[in-house]
């Protein structure tokens, strides 16, 4: 049994010896370096580009939008974002001009000798300004996309509510901050093929973007993923921009072109988590049952649409949290501003929605004087209940288990009532969050993508997986090899991978949306099952037995003949299976579980095939004079369906939780005039080893019948609940609820002052 075991990471040895090659570790003899010249204003007409004297311009190659042979777009949803600005810039840092040079230093020096002049236009820099639509920067109302989901009769239900609780919550930008910055090498071959390699989550996204840019057929664009130093969504759609720039320069200068951003540039150029303003109005019975809810979410999309409609959609669907409320209306819109476009980031709209909904539960619990635990128990979803989109949950609903587990493991009830002795100026607080996250694409998304994967026998008699799902640290290669090994009676080390190259592997869909294990892992399992069936069939015909009698165990194929057990090694069987055809490869394609129904127009039905559930308890100590917050302990319980590899699953949960705690406590982008002030690791603060205490991670296995061995997607889930549990703990310590994150000393002080005024 290899599934369920914490086998070592497949590429672990390469990563601890320095042998793993990331994009910046590749060097070619004739390589040139690319540099991007960006807008310094938020909204303006470009009136001129001057190439200053004092630089020998014959030593470099320049490219602008006129060099794009087909469509000047970063192909995604609306195709509204140009790869390079033409006459108008819509945000600071928008790319305008590209420079290639034989050295990085020369390209940078050239960039310093470019002077761009602008005629400034009024800029829309905040959600409020955008909503007022005084200055129109997208359509008539600055709204990229809006959704409304309604169930029951909201107005009537509010009439009968005994208590109404209303509050508005704010969250800001968050930077993914993968430690490896974005980087791409592009090569334009003499036959017109464009070769891209680099750091990315979704090779086929880049493939499509490059095809659109140059009007090329599938086979003329080859995209290869290199070892990737973290993504977290930040390398979902954004690498298409870097790849487009590098490809354009490579075509023009005739050399391979490398663009690897320095940290400061990566920070300002790449997408971030959407800031949001979320208003909750909730009607309840006096004893704390939800009967009516109105939730309004507004996301700041930035200057271009990117993936914003999809991010908002996920936020809307998760807006209530894992609770039942018969009468509910959720409205959501994502608006345009003259700030850098926001995009994918682990959680994808849910961390914003979850912060608001869980802090609202905290507020309700205070207002009604009901314990946070009782409030959750009264309203939580159970098997058979309906979500806000009208989806009935019929399997793998771990709500009660995760709540019970986290309370027990953290000793929440005792610790909340018997608080530690208080030092004069320090107060202890304990906070709870309870949340869920849908696995895979929303609604009919997976049906449209039809993710594929294949497995094949190798000449050495082992097995190779062919998939476009990328290894970005989350463990794709390790868990896929466990799944295939399990199916075929092999060891994970007997399973290898085809290079993640669009000319070699099928499109498994993007490596996003908590879908790699649950969706693509299932497809890989199906492909392995087909391979097994085919091998059994071929061996059975040679051995003159029934295919169904052949067992795959211990790296052997076994069957009985005349009361004797016959055994052939897997390698030998593989060789025999390929003796006539020379190869054996099976491909599988995803299909939704039976009975899944989704209506894109009314936004109702089965939003996701299954949800993963979790609960967090965070304990803090708050200095009542300086409002410094020290996190003392973090406990999480997660219903993962099945942990294919428990160590890797814990790693996902711990890492995601720490990102969430950073979101709640320090991570904030500071702005002035549409420019980012803290684009460095010295002033954009992410948690260090000293900010985070030891964590307890409880895995609960509540199998999902259509996932590989029962596994559900958990990549994003841990990003959702950390911030609200932390802020609830602060509220428990100081007595006031902070409604805007990060919960800086300044905001904690303000919340306490506000509470004092109200009292």
């Amino acid at each position: 049994m290899t599934v369920g075991q914490s086998v070592n990471r497949k590429e672990g040895r390469d990563k601890v010896t320095g042998a793993a090659k990331y994009v910046d570790d590749y060097h070619f003899q004739d390589i040139w370096y690319g540099k991007t010249v960006r807008s310094t204003v938020a909204h303006a007409q470009i009136t001129g580009i001057e190439f200053l004297a004092g630089f020998d311009w014959s030593t470099v190659v320049l490219a602008d939008y006129r060099d794009i042979t087909s469509r000047n777009i970063v192909a995604l949803i609306y195709d509204d974002q140009p790869l390079l600005a033409e006459s108008l810039v819509r945000h600071v840092y928008e790319p305008i001009l590209l420079i290639a040079a034989p050295t990085k230093e020369l390209a940078e020096l050239a960039a310093k000798h470019v002077h761009i002049t602008y005629k400034k236009l009024p800029a829309v820099l905040t959600i409020e300004d955008s909503l007022s639509a005084e200055q129109k920067i997208f359509g008539d109302d600055n709204v990229f996309k809006s959704y409304t989901v309604t169930r029951g009769n909201v107005e009537d239900a509010f009439q009968s509510a005994e208590v109404v609780v209303e509050e508005t919550y704010h969250v800001g930008h968050q930077e993914q901050l993968y430690i490896e910055t974005n980087g791409i090498i592009a090569t334009a071959k003499s036959d017109g093929t464009i070769l891209i390699q680099g750091s990315m989550q979704c090779p086929y996204y880049v493939h499509r973007a490059i095809k659109e840019l140059f009007g090329l057929p599938d086979e003329k664009v080859v995209v290869v993923q290199n070892v990737t130093g973290g993504g977290f969504g930040g390398k979902e759609e954004f690498p298409s921009v870097v790849a487009g720039h590098a490809a354009l320069l490579a075509k023009k200068c005739g050399h391979p072109v490398k663009i690897v951003y320095e940290r400061g540039e990566d920070f300002v150029a790449s997408t971030k988590r959407h800031p949001a303003v979320i208003r909750h109005r909730t009607g309840l019975t006096r004893d704390g049952r939800l009967i009516a809810a109105e939730i309004d979410l507004t996301f700041d999309g930035g200057a271009y649409c990117t993936l914003s409609p999809v991010v908002l959609s996920r936020g809307v669907i998760h807006a209530l949290g894992p609770y039942k409320c018969p009468n509910i209306r959720v409205t959501g819109k994502v608006v345009a501003t003259n700030t850098p476009p926001n995009g994918a980031f682990r959680g994808f709209g849910v961390p914003q929605a979850c912060f608001a909904s869980e802090m609202h539960m905290e507020n309700i619990s205070r207002k009604l004087d009901i314990s946070p635990v009782e409030l959750r128990r009264k309203n939580m979803l159970h098997q058979g209940d309906y979500t806000l989109t009208g989806q009935q949950l019929t399997y793998s609903v771990g709500t009660q288990q995760v709540l019970d587990a986290v309370l027990e493991r953290s000793d929440y009830l005792a610790r909340r009532s018997h608080k530690q002795p208080e030092l004069s100026n320090k107060r202890y607080g304990i906070g709870l969050s309870f949340y869920y996250h849908g696995g895979g694409f929303t609604g009919s998304g997976e049906e449209k993508i039809k993710g594929q994967a294949a497995v094949e026998l190798t000449a050495e008699g082992t097995v190779r997986i062919l998939t476009a799902s990328t290894e970005i640290g989350q463990g794709t290669r390790t868990i896929f090899s466990q799944i295939v090994a399990q199916e075929l009676g092999l060891r994970p080390e007997d399973v290898e991978f085809e290079e993640n190259d669009t000319s070699k592997v099928p499109d498994s869909g993007p490596t996003v949306a908590s879908r790699t294990c649950m969706v693509v892992g299932r497809v890989v399992q199906m492909a392995a099952a087909s391979l097994k069936e085919e091998m059994a069939k071929r061996i059975a015909s040679l051995a003159q037995c029934q295919a169904s009698e052949i067992q795959f165990e211990g790296r052997h194929l076994l069957w009985q003949k005349d009361g004797e057990i016959i055994s052939v090694s897997f390698a030998e069987a593989a060789e025999r299976c390929m003796s006539r055809t020379g190869f054996l490869k099976t491909t599988a394609q995803y299909s939704s579980p039976p009975g899944i129904k989704w209506d894109d127009v009314t936004y109702s039905g089965d939003a996701y095939p299954v949800y993963a559930y979790a609960a967090d308890v965070v304990e803090v100590e708050v200095d009542m004079d300086t409002f410094e917050v020290k996190i003392l302990k973090v406990t999480t319980a997660t219903d993962v369906g099945k942990a294919i590899n428990p160590t890797l699953a814990e790693g996902q949960i711990e890492g995601g939780t720490v990102q969430a705690l950073g979101y709640g406590l320090f991570e904030e982008v500071a702005w002035k005039d549409g420019k980012i002030l803290n684009n460095r690791l010295t002033n954009y603060i992410i948690p260090t080893s000293l900010d985070i205490p030891d964590m307890e991670t409880v895995l609960i296995e509540n199998p999902y019948p259509y996932g590989p061995y029962g596994a559900k997607g958990i990549g994003e889930l841990p990003m959702d609940g950390g911030a609200p549990a932390l802020v609830a703990a602060i509220a428990d310590a100081v007595g006031a609820v902070v409604t805007e994150i990060p919960a800086t000393p300044e905001r904690i002080m303000e919340a306490m002052e506000k509470l004092a005024v109200e009292a």
Binding site: K15, T17, E180, T181, V227, G231, R263, T647, G655
Partner: protein, 160 residues
């Protein structure tokens, strides 16, 4: 300018600008790309290497600063392909995810394991956290890294 350094036990003479960052000399002139750049200003620690036994950020140090010094990079940890305890532990405990911070993290960990104090007792988990506080990791949440270093410290002490 010719500068002599010892890298992973090998005497080298590199002909570079004296103010070239040690990081660039290692990656470009010594072809040792295991050492990574994460921020270029000493905040993330991905470029950490040992210089005469002390852990430093190679992105902040001009090569002339380490003239004549002994430098150890991640490539110099294992001997003839045999991993040192901290490398073994990082694999076993799942301390590496995306892996980009790991070369630097391992050097900070090794500096702790090599420190004199460790000849008597293993470091506490808090001391381990202090030792890697200059190394940012965005993937793991540090738990499994601390677990791995703790285990490596124990096995190192047992060998001593």
């Amino acid at each position: 300018m010719a500068i002599k350094i010892v890298v992973n036990g090998q005497d080298l003479e590199v002909s570079v600008s004296p103010m070239k960052r040690l990081l660039d000399v290692l990656r470009q002139d010594c072809y040792l790309t295991g050492t990574k750049e994460g921020c270029g200003e000493g905040e993330c620690g991905a470029c950490s290497v040992l210089v005469d036994g002390e852990v430093i950020n190679s992105c902040l140090v001009p090569v002339c600063q380490v003239e004549g010094s002994e430098i150890v990079t991640v490539e110099g940890l294992a001997e003839n392909g045999k991993l040192v305890p901290v490398q073994e532990a990082f694999i076993k405990y799942g301390a590496a995810q995306c892996g980009i911070c790991i070369p630097g993290m391992l050097m900070a960990a090794q500096a702790l394991l090599d420190s004199k104090e460790l000849s008597k007792q293993t470091p506490t988990r808090y001391e381990i956290r202090e030792a890697i506080a200059g190394n940012l990791c965005r993937c793991t949440g540090y738990m499994k890294i601390v677990d791995a270093i703790e285990a490596a410290a124990l096995s190192t002490l047992e060998k001593k």
